[in-house]
């Protein structure tokens, strides 16, 4: 599996960026964003013998200078002060922290900077040819804005990492975001940049946060035509989701010709997810990483960085979805059939819901959707509109 890199060190297939310190990004016991997901996923992979100590790389912290690539100094200062309890929620509210979504917690700055550092560690492994692929499941905080927190996200690790890639490695980046929420923070950071292409497939903003991500948001100025949005209807199921994902990702990659792919792998498009209204099953989490893997080899000599993201059913959905992502990245055959009994036994007691004992979901998982044909048709129209500009250039 391992291949020789130029520097004669063994080039790894993939590295898994992880340390227990990443669990320090914790708002409260009752907050839906819960990094226990990382423990559950890592433990599941260990039980599958899919993750060894050699695979795991400890993330570093992002420096202030690195954070400044995508964040304002005043905002970083405010997060630091809030971390130490030096300011009140009233003073920080305009920065999006101290809110119900993003409450202040002890050592907030360090914990947030560490998640960014994890993605930067992943970037360095891939861009310095030490590994083909790298995964930081602690990252993917795509709602973070330049000067304020939003939607559970303090610092935006993908935005910082893309700026870092541009500065240090001068590469063209394709960012693909399959979280059920629009990847607004990353999109707006690079909205006018022709060398970064952002693609987000998400539930429409009709009801769901953040409400943006319309198909007409295509970038601005020199960056016009390098932002793509695929807002899909509530109740969208596997086949329609995958049709849009596969078609758009491939056509956009062929058009943009990236040097490196960053995929954001929020796992909240699943039927079980409490915050969203999409009807995905585990099938999409088998398929999403496969195509990212394939396109990374086709277009980028394998350079693929994966990050986590949303995912609020931390027991039934996220550990399975993210384990599949790592196994695909590592080049292992994707499992079917049963989950390891040891893992189920260990966590069932703590889980408030019965765990799903198999890699795929029970079929059927839900009652049939009455308007499936219309939803599928509507999503196809969205796909056509999103790709209109690149398709018309080819004709």
């Amino acid at each position: 599996m391992a291949k020789h890199a130029r520097n004669n060190q063994i080039k790894k297939e993939a590295v898994y960026i992880y340390s227990e310190d990443q669990l320090g990004y914790k708002f409260s016991d009752s907050h839906p964003f819960n990094q226990k997901r990382l423990t559950l996923t890592t433990d599941l992979l260990r039980n599958m013998n899919a993750l060894s100590d050699d695979d795991i790389i400890t993330p570093r912290m992002a420096t202030d200078q690195e954070l400044l690539l995508a964040h304002d100094e005043r905002y970083i200062d405010m997060v630091k002060k809030a971390s130490q309890g030096l300011v009140t929620a009233q003073q920080t509210e305009s920065y999006g922290i101290g809110t119900e979504d993003t409450p202040i917690f002890p050592n907030m700055h360090d914990a947030s900077a560490r998640l960014v550092g994890g993605t930067l560690t992943a970037v360095d492994y891939v861009m310095e040819n030490k590994a083909y692929h790298a995964l930081n499941l602690g990252g993917g905080l795509h709602h973070g804005f330049r000067g304020r927190a939003s939607g559970f996200c303090v610092y935006n690790d993908s935005s910082v990492a893309i700026k870092y890639i541009q500065e240090k490695y001068n590469a063209r980046v394709l960012y693909i975001d399959t979280d059920a929420h629009h990847g607004d923070g990353v999109q707006w950071t690079f909205y006018d940049d022709p060398n970064v292409c952002t693609v987000s497939i998400h539930e429409t903003g009709r009801y769901l946060f953040p409400g943006t991500g319309n198909v007409t948001e295509r970038g601005t100025g020199e960056g016009y035509g390098t932002s793509f949005n695929l807002p899909i209807d509530a109740f969208t199921e596997d086949d329609s989701f995958l049709e849009l994902y596969r078609t758009a990702f491939r056509e956009i990659a062929e058009h943009f010709k990236p040097d490196v792919i960053i995929s954001q792998n929020g796992a909240d498009a699943h039927y079980f997810d409490p915050l969203t209204h999409l009807y995905g099953t585990m099938k999409i989490y088998h398929e999403i990483p496969k195509l990212a893997h394939q396109l990374a080899h086709e277009f980028c000599d394998g350079r693929w960085i994966g990050v986590g993201g949303g995912g609020y059913d931390i027991w039934r959905v996220v550990p399975r979805a993210w384990s599949l992502l790592w196994m695909e990245m590592k080049g292992l055959p994707l499992p079917e059939g049963d989950l390891p009994q040891e893992w189920l036994d260990r966590w069932q007691e703590e889980s408030p819901v019965p765990l799903i004992p198999t890699w795929f979901d029970p079929d059927p998982l839900y009652e049939p959707i009455p308007r499936k044909a219309e939803i599928t048709e509507k999503n196809q129209k969205v796909l056509e509109k999103a790709l209109y500009s690149i398709r018309s250039q080819q004709d």
Binding site: S150, R206, Y207, L208, L275, P370
Partner: protein, 215 residues
């Protein structure tokens, strides 16, 4: 909101003695559709729209292009004595004028001079701002009985959850006149607690509502 808070003050104008050709190039270069026509003292004497131009010029499908048309003076095709507004007019009234009179722009005049312009596009953007759709938020619709005090009862839930409301709209319920639909945009990614508490108060939360489907 009053007109002076939203009007564009940097207004492009032409005089009645300019030609159709002048108007065509100014409209095209600036991607606009309306031009107030002023006299030398700055008083509005007419309006030219892209529609007036189209009516006055021959079809582009005709072989015989009559270029003479382009030298016609604007005073001969402009709408004379157009409807104008005042900086202190209410924005709601402007919307009504656009709707009733079927016009697309309103020159704003104060002390006899042109001071601004409001177009349908400007008004539409104000509407987008009103719905709060330009800021990150979740969208919650609540069906409530049409009686006094109901908004307070619902908004109390937002207060209890320390949730920042970006916008509130009240719609009639087309299905039942005894009800209203309240539409909130709330600055939160996790509206579940809010929705649960609104339901506990006995109201119907439509989130998301698609006929035939409930999750």
């Amino acid at each position: 909101m009053i007109v002076e808070e939203m009007m564009k003050t940097n207004v492009l104008t032409l005089q009645p003695t300019h030609t159709i050709k002048d108007a065509i190039s100014l409209l095209r270069e600036n991607k606009i559709r309306h031009l107030p026509i002023t006299d030398t003292t700055g008083e509005v004497v007419g309006v030219i729209s892209d529609r007036d131009i189209k009516d006055a010029t021959p079809s582009s499908l005709l072989d015989q292009q009559s270029l003479n048309v382009h030298t016609v003076l604007l005073r001969d095709i402009m709408t004379k004595n157009p409807i104008v507004g005042h900086p202190l007019d209410f924005v709601e009234d402007v919307a009504t004028i656009f709707y009733d009179q079927q016009i697309g722009c309103l020159p704003i005049v104060s002390k006899g001079k042109l001071v601004g312009i409001v177009t349908e596009t400007d008004l539409l953007y104000k509407y987008i701002e009103l719905t709060g759709a330009h800021q990150p938020g979740s969208h919650i619709e609540v069906r409530v009985p049409n009686r006094p005090g109901i908004l307070f009862e619902v908004s109390k839930v937002f207060h209890d959850h320390h949730a920042n409301v970006l916008s509130v709209l009240v719609y009639p319920d087309v299905a039942n006149e005894a009800n209203k639909i309240l539409v909130f945009r709330v600055k939160t990614m996790n509206p579940l607690g809010i929705i649960e508490d609104i339901r506990k108060e006995g109201f119907d939360v439509l989130w998301p509502n698609m006929p035939g489907i409930t999750k």
